[in-house]
Symmetry: C2
Subunit: 137 residues, 2 copies
Amino acid sequence: MFEQCLYFNTTSLARKLEREWTVAFKPFGLTPSQAFLLRTILAKPGNHQRDLADGMNVTTPTMSRTLDGLSKLGFVERRGSDQDTRGIQVFPTDKALVIHDELNAASGKVTKKLKKLLGTGEFDDVVSRLKAISAAL
Amino acid sequence: MFEQCLYFNTTSLARKLEREWTVAFKPFGLTPSQAFLLRTILAKPGNHQRDLADGMNVTTPTMSRTLDGLSKLGFVERRGSDQDTRGIQVFPTDKALVIHDELNAASGKVTKKLKKLLGTGEFDDVVSRLKAISAAL
DNA sequence: TACATATAGTTGCATAGCTAACAAAAAGGA
DNA sequence: TCCTTTTTGTTAGCTATGCAACTATATGTA
């Protein structure tokens, strides 16, 4: 029915990938959204929520709530910004630092598996095209 | 950070497309999920919920609740199957038949816009690849 | 300075999606 | 036939996501 629909095929694939990554991050007690956000925070501590939201392409309410979750789990800490008292900077806790490498390793494992399944060339090519489409929208 | 990640780019694009299609179906009072499901039901009335769930690549609880929504809006009707009394067949109501053409027209309009933006060749190529990846997973 | 506008975050309320647990009916086998 | 297993749907409870509305602070301008 929707074989040629970009929306249908994109969202459908997104659900399949979501299931794949859910399994990968389960040992950490993290959902894919939480895990990817945490990886971003670990890679660059001190980002403002606004920038995190832009970077992950979600709205600020979504970012606010995902951070609530990570905060409750003890993986991140929010501190008021010095430069702009409206803004809030986000930092990883020690608990997050401990799993940093394992988290990246788990991610790398899934990517490797998918690349093997699809072929590295095909994998990279599709990702590039997806990025190009996102940029065009 | 996740420039080369299939999951990240797919889900990110999915969110952007979701926003695009949300606007398109708003005049009908339908969300994209509801609208695509309704189009499926209009195209082939009498499908069982199980088959609809498989076709849309969602779980049965999700299908059940999306149908609850369409049912509450008066667009679909559920009838117990004769062959298998466990099963439930789904039919469009007259209210749905009335908007059938407009719904497809609205969808076609968005697709046309996206094809123009991305180029028809690129569009079709990406969709084919997404389908291939879905099939491989 | 004072007021209007813009920006950062949160909260309320909605849908979409999942897993787990359940009820009911069908299918299969001893 | 009777019992086990499988299948179909629903319900409960969770996260993810969005929009609208709100608070608080910053910025820009008269």
